[in-house]
């Protein structure tokens, strides 16, 4: 039987879904660790990016961060972090994934604030708003399309990268593929492809859902700005 037929067979076996370590378990692991990583990335990158954008400094730092993380292999971080104080287990994997969520979040938060019309900023200043108030009440709302675009890029990337956690037995859907490779290619071909379908399907689904979320959270008045925001987000993180 050809590998695709085997994959269909594998996916049709209910036990492969409900067994301990089956698809449902792995999907849960995959989503929880991705969510934790994106959350951690947001907590670090958004305040920093917004603040850097507000003060107008650190543009070089933003570029540097995205360039360096582009060059560091995911596998390296996944194997190095468990050996540090983080210890083996979920926290190390989550931190490793969060590192790759930071560049798109940071770059978009930074450009989001920088692209605010200087006249709007001046007007807010003239109305007597303090620096913090300008950031909170003027720049932050106007940066929302960029923040949403960055969130989408980061989340999709983390969900894609989380498949690699299986290299260090970190769980997630990648584990199904790894187990298939462990079986040898002739016997495990179906499982390998089935795992690939699940991993890829989840990433494409997340992309679609988050595109919708991005549209919803963007105020109607700012919607025309969404397209350039996406393009800029793609530019900032191209090559992820």
């Amino acid at each position: 039987m050809n590998p695709v037929g085997q994959a269909v067979l594998w996916l049709n076996d209910p036990l492969n879904w409900t067994n301990p370590g089956g698809v449902l378990d792995r999907l849960g692991e995959h989503l929880t660790m991705s969510a934790a990583a994106v959350l951690l990335g947001c907590l670090v990158a958004w305040p920093l990016g917004l603040w850097l954008g507000h003060t107008g400094r650190g543009g070089g730092l933003v570029v540097l961060v995205s360039n360096v993380t582009l060059a560091v292999p995911t596998l390296a971080l996944l194997t190095i972090l468990p050996l540090t104080f983080l210890g083996f287990g979920r926290p190390a994997v989550v931190v490793a994934l969060a590192v790759f969520a930071v560049p798109p979040l940071l770059a978009n938060a930074y450009t989001g604030v920088r692209q605010v019309d200087p006249e709007a900023r001046d007007a807010a200043r003239g109305m007597g708003l303090s620096g913090g108030q300008v950031l909170r009440r003027v720049e932050l709302p106007l940066a929302v399309p960029y923040l949403a675009a960055g969130f989408r890029t980061a989340a999709v990337q983390v969900i894609a990268t989380a498949a690699l956690a299986s290299f260090v037995d970190g769980g997630g859907l990648g584990q199904i593929i790894r187990a298939g490779f462990g079986l040898d290619i002739a016997a495990g071909g179906g499982q390998i492809i089935a795992g690939g379908v699940l991993v890829a399907g989840l990433a494409v689904l997340a992309e679609g859902v988050l595109a919708l979320v991005e549209r919803v959270v963007t105020p109607r008045a700012l919607r025309p700005a969404v397209r350039p925001a996406q393009r800029r987000a793609a530019d900032a993180t191209a090559g992820n």
């Binding site: 590998p3 360039n67 360096v68 582009l70 060059a71 560091v72 292999p73 995911t74 596998l75 390296a76 194997t79 190095i80 468990p82 050996l83 999709v156 969900i159 894609a160 990268t161 498949a163 690699l164 299986s166 290299f167 260090v168 990648g174 593929i177 790894r178 298939g180 490779f181 290619i185 071909g189 390998i192 492809i193 795992g195 690939g196 379908v197 991993v199 890829a200 990433a203 494409v204 992309e207 793609a234 191209a238 090559g239 992820n240």
Partner: protein
């Protein structure tokens, strides 16, 4: 490739050890060579396929939408999944790794080359046409040179991400330096080996990027003049 490792390492599992590098220089160099050659071949193949694609999308606007959309969807597919799709057909080995990384590099280069071509000002295109350039003459003498910065950006991004991506090849046993990192993790979490692999990976990306940057400066002397003035 077999990894004969020597464990006369410094006691206490340090993050870096010259002893390890000295004792295993053959293995390390072999991994580095494989990594570099996989990267170079992948980027070369990707560029050779991507440029005609980008030009086709540029000439026939109706192709641009589908090509960009397809590259977008493919880009969303995680690398491990792509390995999973290709490995049962291409087998365990370098061909699978090469195919996956070529595919990703291709997407990056097509997108950037298309963006570079699209931002050639219409007036310049018309002027070239008025001077009697045909479609091909215009492409090679006017449009491609003007799109070169975009193309080069694409090639640089593709190179750097390919260096990182090749490490995922450990899943089929051909990850270059990734093999070193992964073996280090599995052999009692040998930190010196993991760190050596990682540092070499980042250095390789940096060196290749600088080489491409230098090549770009040689190819586009007009940009250098503009930035210095």
């Amino acid at each position: 490739m077999s990894f004969q490792l020597s464990y006369r390492a410094a006691p206490g599992n340090p993050w870096f050890s010259w002893q390890y590098v000295r004792d295993n220089s053959d293995t390390i160099l072999a991994a580095l060579r494989e990594h570099a050659s996989l990267t170079a071949r992948a980027v070369l193949i990707a560029a050779l396929v991507a440029l005609p694609l980008a030009v086709a999308a540029y000439w026939f606007r109706s192709l641009a939408g589908p090509i960009v959309a397809l590259t977008g969807v493919l880009y969303t597919v995680p690398s491990l999944a792509l390995f999973a799709f290709l490995a049962p057909y291409l087998g365990i080995g370098a061909v699978t790794v090469l195919s996956v990384v070529v595919l990703y590099a291709l997407l990056v280069i097509v997108r950037n080359a298309l963006a570079g071509l699209a931002q050639v000002p219409p007036e310049i295109r018309e002027a070239a046409e008025g001077m009697g350039y045909g479609r091909w003459g215009r492409l090679f003498r006017v449009e491609l040179p003007l799109a070169l910065p975009g193309i080069l950006t694409g090639v640089r991004l593709a190179t750097v991400s390919t260096v990182a991506l090749v490490t995922v090849g450990v899943v089929v046993g051909r990850g270059g330096l990734g093999q070193l990192i992964f073996a280090g993790f599995q052999n009692n979490f040998y930190k010196a080996q993991i760190m050596t692999g990682t540092v070499l990976c980042v250095l390789l990306a940096l060196v290749l990027d600088l080489i491409l940057l230098g090549a770009g400066r040689l190819l586009m002397p007009w940009l250098r003049a503009r930035s210095s003035s």
